[in-house]
């Protein structure tokens, strides 16, 4: 018998040594639990998200939807970002190209062809998000073929676009409302601030392995 068969056979035999009734499926209990918690009103969700993620050491700029590229230019200048990685096949990527930002660098080939340059010669990357979570100040990053996962990981500065209308109260709401299980990407991510560690004498330090800085452009106002 294989290890697999042995393990499963032992578990099946073990499962018969049970006197307590089998626990019910917890779906309803979980839904009830989250329904019972106090809800932040819809119009305050974006504010709560902004406050929480700021407390996690992110830099948040509220910016009217139509003007985010200008704000981005300011950020790029203020931080001395010489080259900015972006995803050319996305809506925001095309907007960037049209705006003529200096040092734009498209993520247009597999990592295997330029791993070292990605690690050593990119100052910052900008990505979209699938939404955000108010309760914990968390962004939902949803990488795909056009916007690869290393963009929010390798460059020292990560700039993210979050639409204020996409902020939901909790992670549970996000999974249910956005129907995550219908089509998960290879690597969905929750990101709550820049990379950090407290492994040396419980002293907090930022920029452990991932981005040292996280900049959030929170898009506000009427949907375009």
């Amino acid at each position: 018998m294989s290890a697999r068969d042995n393990i499963l056979a032992k578990l099946r035999a073990g499962a018969t040594h049970t006197t307590a009734p089998a626990p019910l499926n917890p779906d309803a209990a979980i839904a009830e639990h989250y329904a019972s918690l106090p809800r932040t009103p819809k119009e305050q969700l974006a504010q709560e998200f902004a406050e929480k993620i700021t407390a996690w050491h992110a830099e948040v700029h509220r910016v009217p939807r139509g003007q985010w590229v200008d704000k981005l230019k300011e950020v790029v200048a203020a931080k001395g970002i010489r080259n900015l990685l972006y995803a050319p096949a996305t809506t925001h990527g095309r907007a960037l190209e049209a705006a003529g930002i200096q040092g734009l660098k498209p993520y247009d080939r597999p990592i295997d062809e330029w791993k070292q340059a990605l690690f050593e010669n990119v100052d910052a990357a900008i990505t979209g998000t699938r939404g955000a979570i108010a309760e914990t100040g968390t962004m939902i990053v949803w990488p795909d073929a056009s916007e690869p996962r290393t963009m929010s990981l390798v460059p020292p500065i990560h700039i993210a676009l979050v639409d204020e209308d996409s902020v939901v109260p909790t992670l549970y709401d996000a999974i249910v409302q956005q129907k995550w299980t219908d089509g998960l990407p290879t690597n969905a991510l929750l990101v709550t601030g820049p990379s950090k560690t407290a492994d040396i004498q419980q002293t907090l330090a930022y920029g452990a392995h991932g981005p040292k800085e996280l900049v959030v452009l929170l898009l506000t106002g009427e949907a375009l």
Binding site: L8, T18, N25, P26, P148, P185, N187, I200, Q202
Partner: protein, 483 residues
């Protein structure tokens, strides 16, 4: 880069043997005492701040317990469902009954990819099977990339805490270690500078490594998804940058649905370090798909038994497998706080280690561990999935000193803590106490001749004051009062 893995042979897990000596050593070391006391006070305060409403906490714990119990009640089905969905997602699934099997599977994958360097995210199961040791023997560098694990590996030690591996070290010690072991680094106590040193060393390694290894916090059966919880981003590096990603986990980590993970994740980070959430929650559903520009080309999951099926086979001890490895039980344990993680000699120290290690390593090697508890109950009270740890400690003490009950399969190492003298003493005790006339005679003699009790009493006086009968028995005292 051999400097990173030298000494991995010097400290292997040595459960049980000389536990008392190691514990006494730490108790006598004021620096370690201070490190652990300070760190545990800090973690306890941070956790408490996350749970201001005891009634809400109780509801959260009950829900988490419910989810874990439900998952375990369907464990074999969920594992099969997980496997089927992972395979559908392009992940290769392997099963290992023993640490050796797990290491052989991983070694085989590494060899097929001509691996010289493996970068590792934090994985307690990889510690449990002593993977680094096996890789080293095969000439493969297995480099820890979690900052705490990196420090501990550089020092040739083992983690002393499951969440904060280098909690026993001061920043001065880490500064000295880096200055001595990392080429081109001079002494600095600045924590930001120390982290930057680690970052620079490890970033090169992420680029170089052929294989990345990670643990798993939750495996989701319905979608074939692996969830990883971390703050640093090294877990993401290990699962994203190298060409091959190998995940390793215990068979108990599976839940049915992604929604079931949410309450568990919320309690895990709050119980562990008092954080409402970690920086990253990494939800992996397969290797790089066609058209994608990054991610590993190949992905594996190794499911490890290593004694978990033994715990599963007993309804009471099955609760051990509810554990989500938050470490709160050790943070709140008065024994752990005083003796630290290394004294236990096992991968998992503290209360969770005392109840899980006997299944992994057998009672012969671990029978003293369930005794390393005051049974104060703190561990059971803080456990986010409500494992009745004190009850399980008592149960294991019993199993360690007795033969298996009729109809029960003996545990590995059943009765290993039994001594002929103790058995005899208990038998004598039972004989005496079930015969009133004999007992009265005994009490009369013992109280009259109490000056004859010896100062040394077999094992009892090794760490306790001698037993001495009272001047008068309770029966005599009561009789006097009635007079």
């Amino acid at each position: 880069m051999s400097h990173t893995t030298q000494n991995t042979h010097t400290l292997q897990f040595v459960p049980g043997a000389e536990f008392k000596r190691r514990a006494a050593e730490v108790v006598a070391n004021p620096f370690l005492r201070k490190s652990f006391r300070g760190a545990m006070d800090f973690l306890m305060a941070k956790r408490a701040a996350q749970f201001p409403d005891p009634e809400l906490l109780e509801r959260q714990r009950s829900l988490a317990e419910h989810i874990r119990r439900y998952s375990l009640s369907r464990l074999p089905q969920l594992l099969e469902q997980l496997e089927a969905n992972l395979v559908k997602n392009g992940v290769k699934v392997h099963w290992a009954e023993t640490p050796d099997e797990a290491n052989a599977i991983i070694l085989d994958i590494c060899r097929r990819h001509d691996t010289k360097l493996m970068v590792k995210g934090k994985s307690m199961v990889s510690e449990e099977v002593e993977l680094n040791h096996a890789m080293h023997d095969a000439g493969i560098d297995a480099l820890e990339s979690d900052m705490g694990e990196y420090i501990v590996q550089l020092a040739g030690e083992k983690p002393s805490h499951i969440i904060m591996p280098a909690i026993h070290k001061t920043k001065q010690q880490i500064a000295e270690l880096f200055a001595e072991k990392v080429p081109g680094v001079s002494y600095t106590e600045d924590v930001d500078a120390l982290i930057q040193i680690g970052r620079d060393v490890l970033r090169k390694k992420f680029m170089e490594a052929e294989v990345g290894l990670s643990g798993v916090n939750f495996a989701v059966a319905e979608t074939g998804t692996l969830c990883l919880v971390e703050n640093e981003g090294n877990g993401r590096m290990c699962t994203t940058v190298p060409n091959v990603h190998i995940a390793i986990t215990g068979i108990e980590k599976v839940v049915e649905k992604l929604e079931h993970v949410v309450p568990l994740y919320g309690l895990l980070t709050r119980s562990a370090t008092g954080q409402a959430i970690t920086t990253y929650f990494n939800v992996i559903t397969g290797p790089r798909r066609a058209g994608e520009k990054d991610g590993p080309q190949e992905m594996h999951l190794v499911l490890v038994d290593n004694g978990r099926t033994q715990a599963f086979a007993d309804e009471q001890m099955r609760q051990t497998l509810q554990c989500i490895r938050c470490g709160a039980c050790m943070n709140h344990c008065p024994v752990y706080t005083r003796i630290g993680g290394h004294a236990y000699g096992t991968t998992y120290p503290g209360p969770i280690g005392e109840i899980i290690s006997p299944h992994m390593m057998g009672l012969a090697a671990t029978h003293v561990l369930p005794g390393a508890s005051t049974l104060c109950g703190a561990c059971g009270e803080v456990c986010p999935v409500k494992i009745p740890i004190p009850d399980l400690l008592i149960r294991l003490r019993e199993e360690a000193t007795h033969d298996a009950k009729p109809g029960h399969a003996p545990l590995v190492g059943q009765g290993a803590g039994k001594t002929a003298f103790a058995s005899l003493a208990y038998k004598g005790f039972a004989f005496l106490y079930s015969r009133p006339a004999l007992y009265r005679l005994f009490a009369w003699t013992a109280t009259r001749f109490r000056f004859l009790t010896p100062a040394k009493q077999a094992g009892w006086t090794d760490s306790r004051t001698p037993l001495k009968p009272a001047a008068k028995s309770l029966r005599d005292l009561l009789a006097e009062r009635r007079r």
